[in-house]
């Protein structure tokens, strides 16, 4: 029965997507029911799977396509980390999206592709080899495109075209790298500490070229500078899409891909022996600073958050590239921590826009009085991003910094300090305006938001607090990443 759980976890969104796509737009209750039931079921299944994986059960689902070409789903500790993140946030974002799109058009299309998007993420999480990873990675590109252009304006279509050009281009690089690696090494399964054997000694040049292709391929989705251009543009999408794209689906799929390539295809020792770790770390550092720097000058709230994502996702890459177990704990934990913080920020920002029509930093004056709940959630997310203890972001930065010292790279401390200062510089003005400035004269109270819009950001803000406070509990993101890192390094 080792195939049942991975299949069930995949089908709770892959099987649901066509059903929702076929429903007429008017079938609101049925669609919402199916959606929420599937999302809740998936969370329960993932919880079950986590329990089993923690107790050493292995899972396996294989489908052969040709000699040496196999679709393979499995579940290891790293999969569980990403699965837990996507399933919980999918449930919350679905609730939010149902409330957000109330009265909108093309909702069946929206929720169908939304499900397909999550199906791709769980496929990426459970992929057992590079081929399977590639299949779901490309599916993710196709599933998110209709979501980016959902509003249907010319601006949305332009952003969609650019998004497609970037991600399909990256997909080509990833495809070429994958085929090349298969031609060189046979089937590339994901195994802790890499699967390349003695190939690094015999053909180091080819492996270096393949590494560049693979990282460029996943780097587009992880928004590594200079491949990040699509991300701020795709902010034209509705708020739940931005939230899901930034916190879970797209950028995390990219970051997760970097982890798989470094840890489970090449192995940290090979990456270091080929001299590829330092350039990757440098690229991550550049992205961290560039993203933060660009965020400073954005007045549009969502665009500021988008550049912040560019910067924050690269903490994960940095943690991977520093080749130190301590930094790796920080980076992996940040996969989850950045997810819950960023989704809090986006959901709160969506509420500002829906409730009071506020979309820019300049208009944030007095938001603490106008929408105290959403403002509180936003504050927790922003302080977490800056790295204020005891919130989740502090834990990641602590381990990254300690890992930098461990790896003999004290510059990392300076980088983290600089980046935190920049984080503060672009987040604190928003908080200041929200809490300490009076609302503008003559502003009329906006519409009251229902529970579907209010509960999700409140929940994720609580998670941000909990992930920091309870960091040393066994099932916390941090506890789980310690477990993973012990497999990769010891």
């Amino acid at each position: 029965m080792s195939f049942f759980l991975p299949l069930a976890i995949l089908m709770t969104s892959l099987g649901v997507a066509p059903v929702i796509l076929m429903m007429p737009d008017s079938a609101r209750r049925l669609r919402t029911g199916v959606n929420l039931a599937a999302a809740s079921l998936k969370v329960a299944l993932v919880a079950w799977l986590s329990y089993e994986v923690a107790h050493g059960t292995s899972f396996d689902l294989r489908h052969s396509i040709a000699q040496g070409l196999e679709l393979h789903l499995q579940a290891d500790a790293l999969s569980v980390l990403f699965l837990a993140l996507s399933s919980i946030l999918w449930l919350l974002t679905t609730i939010y999206a149902v409330g957000y799109l109330e009265g909108g058009t093309d909702r069946s299309r929206f929720f169908g592709f939304f499900s397909l998007c999550v199906a791709s993420t769980v496929g990426i999480a459970m992929a057992g080899n590079l081929f399977t990873f590639l299949v779901f990675f490309e599916l993710l590109t196709l599933a998110t495109w209709p979501l980016v252009v959902h509003r249907g304006t010319s601006e949305a279509h332009r952003a969609g075209r650019i998004y497609l050009a970037y991600t399909l281009g990256g997909g080509l690089a990833l495809t070429l790298g994958t085929i090349w690696l298969y031609a060189l090494a046979g089937e590339v399964a994901f195994e802790p500490r890499g699967v390349l054997g003695d190939i690094p000694e015999t053909s180091p040049l080819a492996l270096t070229a393949i590494f560049v292709l693979l990282i460029a391929g996943v780097g587009v989705k992880a928004a590594l500078v200079p491949l990040h251009g699509w991300l701020p543009l795709s902010m034209v999408a509705p708020a739940p899409v931005s939230a899901l794209l930034h916190a879970v689906a797209v950028v995390k799929a990219g970051a997760f891909g970097i982890m798989r390539i470094v840890y489970d295809v090449y192995g940290v020792e090979t990456v270091q022996a080929l001299g590829l770790a330092a350039p990757l770390a440098a690229l991550a550092a550049l992205t961290i600073l560039w993203g933060s720097f660009r965020a400073l000058t954005q007045d549009d709230l969502k665009k500021r958050l988008a550049y912040s994502t560019v910067s924050q996702v690269s903490y994960i890459t940095l943690g991977v590239a520093l080749i130190s177990p301590v930094a790796a704990i920080g980076g992996l934990a940040h996969l989850v921590h950045q997810g819950i913080m960023k989704i809090t920020l986006f959901l709160a920002a969506g509420n500002f826009a829906e409730g009071e029509g506020v979309k820019t930093v300049r208009a944030m004056d007095g938001m603490g009085k106008r929408m105290p709940g959403a403002m509180l959630a936003f504050t927790v997310g922003a302080l977490g991003m800056i790295g204020i203890p005891p919130l989740a972001g502090f834990v990641s930065k602590w381990y990254l910094g300690a890992g930098g010292l461990d790896a003999g790279q004290p510059m990392v401390i300076a980088l983290l300090a600089g980046s935190s200062l920049l984080n503060a510089a672009y987040f604190l003005p928003i908080l200041y305006r929200g809490w300490f400035c009076a609302p503008p004269e003559g502003v009329t109270p906006g519409r009251r938001l229902g529970w579907m819009l209010a509960i999700p950001p409140a929940t994720t803000a609580t998670l941000v607090l909990a992930a920091g406070l309870l960091a040393s509990a066994p099932f916390s993101p941090l506890g789980w990443t310690r477990f993973i890192v012990s497999l990769e390094y010891l």
Partner: protein, 469 residues
Amino acid sequence: MSDISLIVLLPLLAAVLTAALPRQAAAIGTLATGLNAFLAANLGRQILHSGTVTEAIGDWTAPLGITFDANGLASVMLAMAAIVGLAVSLQAAAGPARAGFWPLWMATLGALNGLFLSSDLFNIYVAFEILGLAAVGLTALAGTRASLRAAFDYLTAGLVGSLLVLLGIALSYSVTGRVDMEAVAMLTQSDTGRIALALIAAGLVVKAALFPLHFWMPGAHSSAAPAASALLSALVVKGALYLVLRLSLEGGAGTEFLRNTLAVLGAGGMLWGAWNALRAERLKLLVAHSTVAQIGLIALAIGVAGNPLETGLWQAAALLMLSHALAKAAMFLAVGRIAEALGHDRISGLNREELRPGPAEFAFAIAAISLVGLPPTAGFIGKWFLIEGLIDKGGIHWIALILLGTALSAAYLSRVVSRCLRGGPHVSATARRPPWRTGDVAALGLATGALLLGLAAALPISLLETPFA
């Protein structure tokens, strides 16, 4: 009578019957297509089970007699024609009846089946002639000025192609004294033989609409009726491509000049077709130019496969043929439905405010995924084998060209698909959705089949691995 001769004779018999009984044509034609699919499936099962099945007609064996040779490759092609045929018949049977469609389509099917199974050059020539004439008829069927003109061009090109093939076969007979497939390997031994081979290849290039001899094709495929376009683009050009592959497999790839020419022309077609598709203003023309590009890709795959043919590379070519057939037929059927709902097929006019995207546009989008070759489609598996084989051979420039072609195909197809995703301010609140028609079911079924074929690629691959007799 065995299954092999039955699968050739049944459609030809149906052609006669549908011509004689025009009122019952749709029923007879659909029934024949169904039976044909059953026979093709059965033959495939036999081949999987016990290898290549050979039949010598009247028990006269080669080199004197005519043999039919049902190998794995032929069986994949038969299945391809059967599946596409089912969908097209479904659409045609439900649509407005056009006199002449059914006899022509049945003759096409019979000629294709005969072509796939023949192991004899002269027999192949006869099948080709029937195929060519029936295809011209299918083109002219729409009855518009444009389609008549296109049909005339098609006829001319087809005749030139046939003459070249016939000349080549006659020359090859004078060199080797036989017309069965054994002759092909002998041809590469002498100068005259190589000329014969080049003549046959040139004729096939015209018939396959390979760049730069594709001039007749976009016009023909874009002005015919949707069901006919689907048949022409998905199946008829595959007849010539199949033969190029078959001759290469039989030893015809022995001349390096021919192989290189094929690969270079293929690459040229891939880029030229894509470029024209990017600039096309009409949907049907875009799809037809995309066929030029896809034929180029397949020809490239056959051309680089080397001598003797490398398994991965020629199987890639066969998979690409199969995937293109399903996806392209789906696309033409979908375009037919879109044009029917809109009243035109201008790409800029796809954004009609009063019309929501319907099932046909969905089918188009799914078929596009196959044509670009994204996972999990069979097109993706085909490109995977192709690129993997080229990496092993060190053909990095070919890989670069294939990737460029892929990127261009994504670019021209997204022109259409992005309009299928219209919504928001571009659709008025009272916009209606086009109702479901049988044509939508056929298009959507084929498109989904092409999409999922990649997951089931193990089946065609194990068929292709059956050794030749």
